[in-house]
């Protein structure tokens, strides 16, 4: 029990990291895109838990709302909209799969080299950085909002215009000719 209380967050990390990777593998290997979408949902929710474990509470909730809610519903609607007949006969991977595997192995080798090469010092030397809003210790949501509306107002507005453009583009693309 003392082990659990001392290492609870570490154990949670290992659990959700395993679920994230399992969901990712499910997305790539599932034949039916519907099962792939459910694997993707598992991966999204586990990533949200990983965010919570790294003092990004607001971002964890945004992850669940935007990915688990919005993007996932979009995917499920489109999968059900397109008629996926003759699924069992179609080959899962294209002819370029060996090349893709080589690229993946090269990427993993590069990342492994990076991880061995660089060592990191102690993390979170200033935990108050994630809760400070206008000099007061309020909470993560308030801190993110304060930072967004003071230092990053222009990128925020540009993001809203970008979303409008994306919405108009999606409507135009999906319209019947």
């Amino acid at each position: 029990m003392t082990f659990l209380t001392a290492h609870g967050s570490d154990l949670l990390f290992y659990l959700f990291a395993a679920l994230t990777i399992a969901g990712g593998i499910g997305v790539v290997t599932m034949r039916n895109p519907m099962y792939g979408a459910i694997s993707l949902l598992l991966s999204f929710l586990s990533v949200a838990a990983l965010f919570l474990l790294r003092s990004a509470e607001f971002l964890g909730m945004v992850q669940i709302f935007v990915y688990g809610g919005g993007i996932m519903v979009l995917f499920l609607f489109v999968i059900m909209l397109v008629n996926l007949h003759r699924l069992p006969e179609i080959k899962l991977f294209g002819g370029q799969s060996p090349l893709a595997a080589v690229v993946a192995v090269l990427l993993l080798a590069f990342f492994g080299y990076f991880l061995i090469k660089f060592q990191f010092g102690p993390a979170l030397v200033r935990p108050e950085a994630f809760v400070l809003a206008d000099g007061q210790s309020l909470g993560n949501s308030q801190a993110v909002a304060w930072n967004l509306y003071t230092q990053n107002l222009l990128p925020f507005e540009i993001a809203s215009v970008f979303l409008l453009i994306a919405m108009v583009g999606a409507v135009v693309l999906g319209r019947k000719q």
Binding site: V27, L59, V103, L107
Partner: protein
């Protein structure tokens, strides 16, 4: 060793990134390719959050919000293109998208 550090998060992020890149390059179904792109964007977000925690800097979280915004726009436009492809070819396989091939 058991203690979770930034390196652990980077391992998760890199594995997810590699899985996503493999899915984008190898799969034939466009729906799966779009879902793999979401995986890659998610791995980038894990990376940003891990370094934000490592450096005690809120900027990583702010940047991750913008990444999520771009991911939402990308998903909407990508699925719109998928619907257009399906109307044209009656398939979601990328082999069917050969309009420019003479």
């Amino acid at each position: 060793m058991f203690e979770v550090t930034t390196t652990h998060y980077l391992v998760v992020s890199f594995l997810l990134f590699t899985i996503g890149i493999f899915g984008i390059a190898a799969r034939k179904n466009m729906i799966t390719v779009l879902m793999s792109i979401e995986l890659v964007l998610n791995s980038v977000n894990i990376n940003l959050i891990a370094f934000s925690y490592q450096l005690s800097d809120l900027t990583g979280q702010i940047f991750a919000i913008f990444t999520i915004t771009v991911a939402a726009g990308e998903a909407a436009v990508g699925l719109g293109i998928l619907i257009a492809l399906f109307r044209l070819r009656e398939t979601t396989m990328l082999d069917g998208a050969v309009e420019l091939k003479g």
